[in-house]
Amino acid sequence: MKSALSGIRNKLHKIISTHAPQKTILLATLTIPAFLWFITTQGPLAPVKVTTTTLQTSTLHADVFGVGTVEARHSYTISPVMTGRISRLTVDQGDTVQTGQLLAEIDPVDLNERLTGSRRMTARVSYALAAAEAQLGEAQSRHKTASATYQRYVELRSRNFVSQEMLDARLHEKNSADAALTAANANLAAAKEDLKKTSSDTEGIVRLLKQTRLTSPVNGTVIARHTEPGNIAAAGTPVLQIADTKDLWIRTRVDQQQAGGLRVGQQATIVLRSRPQNQLAGTVARIDLVSDSVTEERIVNVSLAEGLSHLGENAEVTIALSAVDMARSLPAAAIKQINQQCGVWLLQNGQARFHAVKTGITTRDGRIQIMEGLSPQDEVIVYSQQALSEGLKLKLVRELVKS
C-alpha cells in the first residue's frame, strides 16, 4: 500500500513540476503572432500586389500594322475571242515575254479554206465585172444606133415618106435600147458591189485568222498557264496570265481604327511569310477610296522596293506614321477604360485611386501618349494581381512575374 502511494506521488510530481510554465507562454507568444502574420500576408487576406511606374518623356514612333497579299500592280489575262482548240502554246509559267510576242495559237479549223474560197470568189466576181462592162458597151452601141435610126424616121415621117406605123416601130426599138442600157449599167454596178463584198469577206477572214494567234500586250512574265494544247478554250476564258513582276505591291488590309494617319508615300517594312527573318522596304503607293465595310478594314497598297517575291504570298506590313517628339507616355497596360472613361489607377497611401487621363497615340511596342491629367510624380499602377477597385489595399512590389 505504501509503495503504491509513493508511486502515485511520483507520478503526480512528474505531471506537475517537470517544466516551467514560462516556456508555454513563450511558445504561445511566438507562434500566435507568427500565425496571424502568416494569415494576413500569405492567404486571401493579403493586400493586392501591384507594380508602378511614372510618366516617361521620349520620342514616340507610332506605326500601323496590317496583313496583305503580294499582288502584281498590273496583271493581264490572255484569252481568245472565239471558241477553239488550242493548237500551240509557246510559253510557260515564268517565261519572260515581249510586247507582240506570239504566246498561243488557236486551231483555225476551216478558216484557211474559207479564205481560199473567198479569194476565188473575188476572182470570179472580177470576171463577172468584166462581162458586165462588155455588156454595157454592147448596150451603148445598140442604143446609139436605135436613137439615130429613130431620128431619121422622124424626119422621113414629117415629109410623109414613111407610114406612122413604121415610125412607131422605130420608137419601140429606141425605147428598148434605152432600157437595155439601164440594165447593163445596173449590172455593172452590181458586179462592182459584189467585188467589194467579196473583198470585205476576205479581209474579215484574214482578221479572224489573226485572232487565232494570241500575242502579249506588254513586256512581262507569264504568271499562270491555265490550259494546255489540245484543250478547247471557250471565248473569253483565260489561257495565260501575264504580269509585270518588277512592279509588285502588297494589298494590305489595315483596321479602320488605325487607318486615320495613313498617307501615300509613308515608309513601310514588309515581312514575307516565306522569309520571316528578312525585313523588306516599301512605300505606301495607293490608299483605296472604297474600304471593306464588312471587315472594317481599309485597303492600302504598299509597293515593294525589291521585285523578288511570289504573287499571292502572305505578308505582314508595318507602316511608320509620323513620330511625336518629347511625348510623355505610360505603358499601355496601365491605361484602363472604366464606364467609357479612360484613366489610370494611382497608388496613393497604399490604396488605389482611379484618375481620368487624356490619351494620344499608341505605339506598337505598347506605350500610350498621355496628353493631360497626370503629373510626373504620380505613381501609376501598371500591373496588378487582380482587378482594382477604389480604395483597395495595395502592396508595391518590383515585379509580379519573375522574368
Partner: protein
Amino acid sequence: MINLAGRDILHNWGKFVMTGAGLGLLIGVTLTMAGVYRGMVDDAQALIVNSGADLWVVQKDTLGPYAEPSALHDDVARDLLLQPGVMAAGNAAYLTMQIQQGKREVRIMLVGIEAGKPGTPAYLVAGRPITQSHYEALADIKSGFSLGERIRIRRHEYTVTGLTRRMVSSSGDPMIFVPLKDAQEVQFLKDNDALLNERIRTNSAQRTLDASSPSSSQMVNAVLVQLKPGFSDESVANGIRRWKHVQTYTRAQMEEILVARLIATSAKQIFMFLVILSIVSAAIVAFIIYTMTMNKIREIAVLKLVGASNQTISGMILQQALGLGLIGFVVGKTAATFWAPLFPKYVLLIPGDALRGFFLVMLMCALASSFAIRAALRVDPSSAIGG
C-alpha cells in the same frame, strides 16, 4: 492554481505536438478540399467577371457561348449599340483547343477580343496589351507561356505580349487572347486539305480560300454588352430579346447557367467528397481525443484518488482537446495555404471557410472530449492502485 492540462502537455509535449500536426494535416486536406470546391465555382464566376460584360447576346435558343455552341454575325454588335441603355458591345469568339508548347500539350481556351471593347482583360501582370491587329496574344500565366514566346495556333504564329491572371474557362483551362479576326480565322477557316477537298467539290478554284476574304469568317460566338449606368440589365435584355431575335443573358442568368448547370455535377461530386471528408476528419479527431484520454486513465484515477474535483479533471481533458484542435487548425491552415498554389487548377481558400473550419474543429474537439470526460469521470479511483 496550477494548470493541469498545460502540465500534462509539457510532460509529454513531443507526442502531443505530433498528434496535433497529424490532425492538422488532415484538417489541411479538408480545408484544401473546400478550396478545390470554391475554386471550381470561382473559375466559373471568373469567366463571367473577367469578361466585364453585363449582358451576353448569343444565338437564339442556345445557352451559349460557354455551355452550348452559338454563332452570330459579327455585325449584330453594331445593331446592339442602337438599343437604349447599351454603352458598349464587343464581339467575342471562344474556342477550346489544344496547343503545343515545345513538347508539352496545353489545353487552352482561345478567346477572340476586339481591342478596347468588352471582353478585353481588365488587368495584366506583365507585358503589354495587344496593339497589333494580328498575330499577338495575351496568355494566362497558368498556361505556362512567358513573355515574347511564340505560340503556333493552326496557321499562324502569335507572339505573347502580355500575361494575365485568373483568366480561365469554366473548366479551368487558361485563356489565350488573340485579336478577333485571328480567332475567327482559327475557328472557321479549315485546314489546307479540307479547303482543297472543298474546292474540288464545289469545282470552283477561286471561291473557297482567300484567307482574308470576308465570307470565310464573319461569325462570332457571342456579343458582350456593357450597360450605361442607371439601366436595369433585365429591361435592356428584354428589349434585345424581343426586337433583335437573339438570346440574351444577364449576369445572374449566366452565373446560373455556368454554376448551376455547366459545372453542377462535377461541383457536386467535389462537394460530396468534401462532406464525407469532413465527417471522417471529425470522427478521427474524436477518436484521437478519446484514445488520448483513455491512455491517461491511470493518471486520472490517481488524480481522483488525491481528491481532484470532477471539474478539474474535465477541465484538463477539455483544455487538452481544444489545444489539440488549435494546433491542428494552425498546422492545417498553414499547410493548405502552402500547398494550394501547387495544384494545377485553382484552389480558392476563403477566410470564411477557414473561420467555419476553426469553429467546427473546436466544436468537434469539445464534443469528443465530452465522451472522454464521461469515461474519465466514471473511472474507479481504486484502479490507480490495483493496476
